[in-house]
Structure formats: C-alpha cells, structure tokens
Symmetry: C2
Subunit: 107 residues, 2 copies
Amino acid sequence: MKKGLTETCYRFFTNLSNPTRLAALEQLMTKPLSVGELAKTLGQEQSMISHNLKPLLECNIIAIRKEGKRHIYTANKETLTPIFSAIENHAQKFCPTGGTCLKEEKP
Amino acid sequence: MKKGLTETCYRFFTNLSNPTRLAALEQLMTKPLSVGELAKTLGQEQSMISHNLKPLLECNIIAIRKEGKRHIYTANKETLTPIFSAIENHAQKFCPTGGTCLKEEKP
DNA sequence: AGTTTATATGAATAATTATTCACATGAATT
DNA sequence: AATTCATGTGAATAATTATTCATATAAACT
C-alpha cells in the first residue's frame, strides 16, 4: 500500500460502509437512476437519498448528469466492479457458511 | 452484485472503515505481527489493538496463529491485495489532486 | 409571475461505533 | 504455586455517523 493510500482507503471504505449507500450502488450498477427513482426503489425518503449520494459523488464513486430538473446518477463501474468481485470471492472462500463464519474462530 | 452480497459488503466495508484497523492492516501486509508489536508500531494501547483485530479476524480479513503466549496475526493478502489495488487505481484516476477532489464537483 | 416537480441542504436528534480503563485469562518462567 | 508477560474482554464514556424534518434552490409548466 502506497503512502497516503491509508487515508484514501479510509474515506473510500467509510463511504461504502452504509446499507443505504450500498443499496443505492447496487441499483446504480444495473442502470443510471435519478434521485426520485432511487428513493422509490429503495423505499426511502428523497432527502435521505440525496444526503447519501453526496459523499459518493464527492469521492467519484458515482457521477452525475443533469437532465432538466432530474439529476441522473451513474455508478463508477471501473472502480466498483473489481472491488465487489474481490469481496464476492472472499465471501465464497472465507465465509462459506454465509455469515455464520463471523461467529467462529478459524480452525 | 449477487443477492446477499450487500450484507457481506456492508460488514466488510464497515470493518475496513476505521483508521486504526487500516493502519494495522497496512503493517500486516508487510509481515505477520503480534498484538504487542502492532501496538508499539502504531503507538496505541494493546487493548485497542485487540478490540480492533477482533472484527477483522471474525471476517477472516486476518488470520491468527498462537506461538506460546504471543498471538501472531497475518493479513489475508488474497482478498486485500486486489481491493487495495482497485482503490489505488481509483485514487490515481479519479482523485488526481489527492483529496482536494473531494471538495469539487466533477466538470 | 405563480405553481408544480425534482433535488439539495441545514440543523436537531437518534443511533452507531470508537476509545479507554480496569480487570480476566492463560501461557511461560522462577 | 506464585509471578511475569502477552493478550482478550466488559462496561462506561466519548466521538462519529445516520436519519428526519423543515426549508431552500432551481428547472419546467400554466
């Protein structure tokens, strides 16, 4: 890990360590969506979606484009795809019981 | 992203979204270390190191082996290397100003 | 210009997470 | 078996982060 990356990682991981933001990203990985569409899909208030999209945008984990009064957000797949893949791989290899492993110590 | 991965990701990212844990991982990426060695290197209390290693171990982000009274921890490089690489790549491409980008909206 | 629609933001509160301190456990040494 | 060394853990407090609500901004429509 290069010098300074710890700070970058911290902001990055903090950004992703939130269920609402992860759920939003999960949707955005499938297709670009507006704030209102995300709010509706996730069943949450618009202001909460806006609040949560902000830090993702600041870190360029998502991008924005404005179509009239609608703000369309897109996921940064270049960054997110390899990270989600790595975690998926980790889950398969190191969490075979799907969460139960969290309570056990490795043999 | 597969179903259920959101939850895994959440625990995973929560685990990594902490400066102490990241600093510990940064050390462990270079070589295996005991709790005491980590505490000394990071300039923090032993109990804090223990508290922070626990969730990393539970998610198998690190592994433990016991040598007498010393507990030696090792980083799960298979998982961590690709993730850190992806973030390093992200930082280079999307945070060219090294953190200042966090305050700006993309052009 | 006024109204509606879509999104963002500030400030207060609620919830979560981190940190510290005191102490428990357990292996090695005398 | 008592002591020392290394680590883990519980509980209290401190700090951070999330959520909500009220309101601001800004584009489109009448």
